[in-house]
Amino acid sequence: MNSEKIVQYIQKHCIADDWTLNITKDDSHETRFAQNVITQHIAGAMKEISLSVSFGSKAGSCTVNQDDEESLAYLVKTAEEIAKLAPEDPEFVPSAGKMDIPEIVNCDPQTKALEPKQLVDIVQNSINRAKTYGATVSGLTEKHIETNGLFTKNGFSGEYEKSDFGHSMTLKKDEVETKVAYEAKNFAAFNLETLLEKLFNQASTLAVKQTFEPQKIAVLLRPLALQELFWFMGWMMDRRYADEGITPFTDQLGKLFLGEKFSWFSTYKQPTLLAPPFTSDGIIAEEIPWVEKGVLKNLSTSRYWAKKIGSKPCNNYNMFIPGEGYTEEEMLQMVPRGLIVNSFWYIRSVDVKAGEFTGTTRDGVWYFENGKIQYAVNNLRFNEIPHTATKRIIATGISELANPSSLLPAMLIDNFNFVDKTSF
């Protein structure tokens, strides 16, 4: 049954005062390889149909993954029964009404047309090149075509398709481990040779490592590392949690709370960035400055909280951080010494109110001095507060795609707080 028919079924059979219907479909192919062997290989399509209904302010939901009439009857009956049993919800908001949905191209025909054999050929070529290099390679090659639909009793009706292609490679040779990855909605910009060259270059500079003690030191965070760090900060940038005094962003809206060299936008005008046109509850994608030259401009606001405080709901749907355009070489000249970090791993909150996080480096750390990389070093653990770290930004690079939803530059940040080291 297609989405139109499912909507018609709900319109005909759901007797609730209000309803919201989400239909998600995903057709995917995933090839997982490790140590030069394919270890998993998955193909299939999925569908999920979720219905939330309400009687007055009493609400209930149900999800099924079958679209026959019997399953849809269960979906409606179950959601309605739960809603009837639920208490009145003091924070209830009606479903989203009819809205103008921005037209955003999130699905690339070339990605959609990729065949399993093409994906496996990419894996085969990667393994062959790794073997020639005397190494093993592990990674994931994947393609997803996902459709998201949102339909409500109050008139919201929208469906969009998005594509995703990814190829990651972790190389292992003796004690060297390092990773590169490409993931984007567009397959066209993927170049295996370029990615392999980057991988082998990284690996060659990691062959000899020196022990480096944890300390506060200038650090050049490459885009992937920065994305991982700021994604966690973004998770805390919620208006309600700020207003309730739980996060560091309490009473900071409109103030110069972050560094003046730091801005963060959600945008659908950058063609390479994935930008879902609406959320699962009908918040429309808009051009949103979250931080502009250090001033906290907006915080993610749910539809309920927006109604309560007389604001507009907004959702942090992607990360565009503009850069100043410095090259990595130029930034290395700006401080006497420091570290380059490729990526981070296992970042977790340490103190919610302070906005402090911990995590470790991964896939390459290099010590530089007098503008030049001197040698690779062991991995390190950091305890750092990202929003205060933005006040220590010395310079930023050229924005590049770190993943489908993040376009951001490398950043040179002073006095980054490394607190422990690993033995590798």
């Binding site: 998955i42 939901s61 994947e142 080291k421």
Partner: protein, 480 residues
């Protein structure tokens, strides 16, 4: 069900070495309450089947949610095509499957009261009362309550002749109180991580009493002192806290797929490599870790894993020495094991199973010792309860953990509550620093229902357990 035979016959005709089909229906009820607002109450049913074939040393896996003869046959064909593509790449190094016999068996999680038979209104009423109890405390500004009831019904068949009918389930209540002052916010959570039992567990728990306790402790915590600079101190860790510590630093480190480098691109590898088996001092001689997928109430007690291998019990670390791993049919032979330990599990029908941590627990001390006696025997230390911040490197060596509630110990007494405490340690330092474990009277299980692993990511579940234990000379301090 006819689809089992249809799929296995079709796979055999297509010349596979091995195939299995897992028809799985997952039913989940989730109730999420924030303060007195019921944010989400849902029943979710996901059903379909996954067909896995092994051909020329390679896997192919395909899934579908359409139940018809045509869909089953098409899915078998897709799985075989996928395996054929994999096999081209694996020509020079083929995967191998450890031998296994066939089984015809059933398993059902023993429950006295099926949580799905309890009216939703009764669950909501209980949660509202729990939330009201916490909000009645001045200073508690936010409460979060989540109740998850989960059931998996699986029919499994393989070309070995195995036919399994498995119904497993768990229930997981979690309640959090958040205390807010002018300068700080601190939360305290009751979360035992879920258990493979029925609603009778919820009735035994007395959640109202738990709510009072965590609300009071959140208010103590938000006004508590911080610890200051890092020093080497003793740590006394309660079983709930140790559950996550062992999960991260022992459980993941002893998954054989990580050891082999199969997770190198994402979840990471392991320092606990095969040459360390039978000689590596992972911990002090008090440290005995058992993998046990037969544990009563254990979240990984499923009868059989998704390779069709029965649940087992074995030593992973004995008297401090690394003895074995959690393994699967496709990893076991790589290090010369003769059979799998039955740790291959998938989350939903559309997931290919991956090597998972079994139920893994620390055996209690053999000498009589209570937590009170252990604290009384500690001159300078920190007592940590519950789970907090946790982060470990991708080799599973260096880690930093927090907790949920902290007391400073001086001269055998709990002298003041603390907040924002973190400790840093590494393998094998941490487990070798253990010098006391309370006895079996104080052994308690704690579950993990959200263990993220794999590409595409899957959420696994397993149970850990221990008695309260002491660790000497660990770096402990306050956060920034």
């Amino acid at each position: 069900m006819k689809y089992l035979d249809l799929a296995m016959n079709a796979a055999e005709k297509l010349g596979v070495e091995y195939a299995d089909i897992r028809i799985q229906k997952t039913t989940e009820q989730v109730i999420f309450l924030q303060n007195l607002s019921l944010k989400h109450t849902s029943n979710n049913v996901l059903q379909g089947f996954g067909i896995r074939v092994f051909k020329d040393g390679a896997w192919g896996f395909a899934h579908s949610n359409v139940f018809s003869d045509e869909a089953v046959l098409a899915t078998v064909k897709k799985a075989v095509e996928t395996a054929t593509l994999s096999a081209e790449v694996n020509k020079t190094k083929k995967l191998r499957l450890a031998p296994e016999r066939s089984y015809i068996s059933t398993y059902k999680t023993p429950v006295k009261i099926d949580p799905f038979s309890v009216p939703v209104s009764e669950k909501i009423d209980l949660m509202m009362e729990v939330s009201r109890t916490m909000l009645a405390y001045e200073g508690i500004k936010k409460t979060l309550l989540i109740m998850i009831m989960h059931k998996d019904e699986k029919l499994f068949a393989s070309t070995l002749g195995t036919r399994l009918d498995l119904t497993t389930q768990f229930i997981n209540p979690m309640i959090t109180a958040v205390a807010v002052t002018e300068s700080d916010s601190q939360s305290r959570t009751f979360d035992e991580g879920g258990r493979a039992v029925g609603w009778e567990w919820i009735l035994e728990l007395d959640l109202i009493d738990k709510a009072k306790q965590i609300a009071e402790e959140a208010l103590i915590k938000v006004k508590a002192d911080t610890l200051g600079a890092e020093e080497r101190r003793s740590l006394v860790l309660d079983p709930n806290h140790l559950g996550l510590t062992m999960h991260e630093s022992v459980g993941h480190a002893t998954e054989l797929d990580r050891v082999l480098g199969w997770e190198a691109d994402y979840a990471g590898v392991s320092f606990a490599t095969p040459e360390k088996l039978n000689n590596y001092h992972y911990g002090s001689e008090l440290i005995n870790f058992v993998g046990d997928n037969t544990l009563e109430g254990g979240l990984a007690t499923l009868g059989f894993d998704d390779d069709g291998v029965p649940g087992q019990k074995w030593y992973i670390i004995k008297d401090g020495i690394l003895k074995e791993y959690g393994s699967t049919r496709d990893t076991a032979l790589e290090i010369g094991l003769i059979a799998s330990r039955g740790c291959n599990r998938a989350t939903y029908y559309f997931n290919q199973p991956i090597n998972r941590i079994p139920n893994l627990y620390l055996l209690p001390g053999t000498k009589p010792l209570t937590p009170g006696e252990l604290i009384a025997d500690t001159e300078d230390g920190i007592y940590i309860q519950g789970r907090g911040s946790y982060s470990i490197d991708h080799h599973r060596i260096n880690f930093q953990f927090g907790g949920d509630f902290f007391w400073e110990i001086k001269n055998g007494k709990l002298i003041r509550p603390l907040k924002k405490v973190i400790y840093k340690s590494c393998n094998p330092e941490f487990w070798n620093s253990c010098d006391a474990i309370c006895d079996e009277r104080f052994w308690r299980p704690f579950g993990v229902v959200n263990c993220g692993k794999g590409q595409p990511p899957q959420t696994g579940r397993m149970t850990h357990g221990s008695s309260t234990a002491r660790f000497r000379n660990i770096r402990v301090g306050g956060s920034q």
